[in-house]
Amino acid sequence: MNTFSSSASTAFSLITSLDPTLAGIVLRSLAVSACACAIACSSGLLLGAWLGVSRFRGRGAVLAVLNTALALPSVVVGLVVYLLLSRTGPLGFLGWLFSFKAMVLAQAVLVLPVVTALVRQTIEDADRSHGEQFQSLGARRFMRSLILLWDERYALLTVLIAAFGRAISEVGAVMVVGGNIDGFTRVMTTSIALETSKGDLPLALALGILLLGVVLLLNMLIALVRRWREQLDDRLPDVAPVPASVLAAQSAQGVQGAQP
């Protein structure tokens, strides 16, 4: 209990003292995970939406692989990205190993299956429920996936939160490809691991509390944005302006002439 209370007070004092090293670590964590999520989401949203509406031979196998990738251990991802980026690896020429970019790449690889799988499920459910109606309006498969993606945008915010949560909380991949270099590739999770190994448990726990706080803050922010947007969408103006030409056309049409 003492450890927890001293951790809480350490966390509080770390925040209130605005320690520049800590601020750097927090900002770096946020930047790495945000970049990784942006990359993973830009492709994962489209890929997931397409998988949600498409039907092709071998789709079941693709989905099985995708769902398996949800359980990818982050150290394995770190190892694979390490091998790709190492000097003798196929991407070694980039010189990204032990850099910010390497951490972004590793987290993006880790998060991509999460985004793709969750989006796929959401869009597939929506397509089963009412995709036929858009098909009836003339939307082909890919267009249907885009329409459904847009229509499910609020539900998909939860996917973004899940993806960001997965990215910011992982330690294995960034540790392997980033190297936990002080002031350069050290992020919150690798700091926690380091402080724990040094035996400074209160500081490690304080960083953990801080990490949770950051994620909580982001969740609240997204929830607020979501509520604000929903309220904006649901706002019901009493009367929308109707051009006089339209009203004139209506009265000219009368009850007859339904078929143009």
Binding site: S129, Q135, G138, D233, V242, Q250
Partner: protein
């Protein structure tokens, strides 16, 4: 005269379930065709087949590719967007530039008496209003054939009357109507021809007066008595 649809012994199967069996049917332009039958009789499948949403596994299916079609579903889906944009979407998907699509959508909304709700969130409308928005969305496409799957089911009597009135007006304007319904009063009022389906089979195909007054196959007779009782 060239028919709009010509089906010969069409069969549709979903897995092991036979939704339609040996359906033979010819639909001419300007007809008001009602599909009746109990739940699971194949009405919706027949409508979806005619609309091209379901591909028959057997038999011959021919339709006039020049004749534009639109379909109205029992529970029309509204996008999380304004009423106007919901209607404009169909037009845009059919190749109209977005601005022009919105202009025409407004006209279509005027046609169903909902122009004043153009700026509202479509999801927030009542069931009857949503059905009228869906009618506007279908009408905006200038279809020659309008297929309607139980368009007034789950609507209150006022909304039902309003949708029926619009259907009658569209048909009076020359549009071919093909609709499924459990409401025999509605069938009597709107249809010129009635098809009775049972277990995916087309059991009776008669002009409306003959369907309600004339001798019917036993199954259809039984259904009619049950529905009218």
């Amino acid at each position: 005269m060239k028919p709009l649809f010509n089906l010969h012994a069409v069969g549709v199967q979903f897995g092991k379930f036979r939704a339609l069996t040996a359906c033979t049917l010819r639909v001419e332009a300007g007809e008001r065709l009602a599909l009746v039958g109990s739940n699971g009789s194949g009405k919706s499948t027949l409508l979806r087949t005619l609309h091209g949403l379901v591909r028959p596994q057997s038999g011959g299916f021919w339709h006039d590719a020049q004749a534009r079609q639109a379909m109205l579903f029992q529970r029309p889906y509204m996008l999380r967007a304004s009423v106007l944009n919901n209607v404009a979407l169909g037009l845009w998907l059919n190749g109209l530039p977005w601005k022009q699509a919105r202009d025409q959508a407004l006209q279509a909304l005027g046609r169903v008496g909902l122009a004043d709700l153009a700026g509202r969130n479509a999801k927030a409308l009542s069931g009857g209003q949503q059905q009228r928005v869906a009618l506007a969305r279908a009408w905006a496409l200038r279809p020659q054939v309008l297929l309607l799957d139980e368009p007034t089911a789950s609507l209150d009597p006022t909304a039902k009357r309003e949708v029926e009135r619009l259907m009658a007006e569209f048909a009076d304007g020359g549009m071919t109507l093909i609709f499924s319904s459990h409401n025999l009063g509605q069938v009597k009022r709107l249809a010129s021809r009635v098809i009775y389906l049972e277990h995916g089979r087309l059991v009776a195909d008669l002009p409306t007066p003959d369907f309600f007054n004339g001798p019917l196959p036993a199954a259809a007779e039984h259904f009619l008595k049950g529905e009218l009782a």
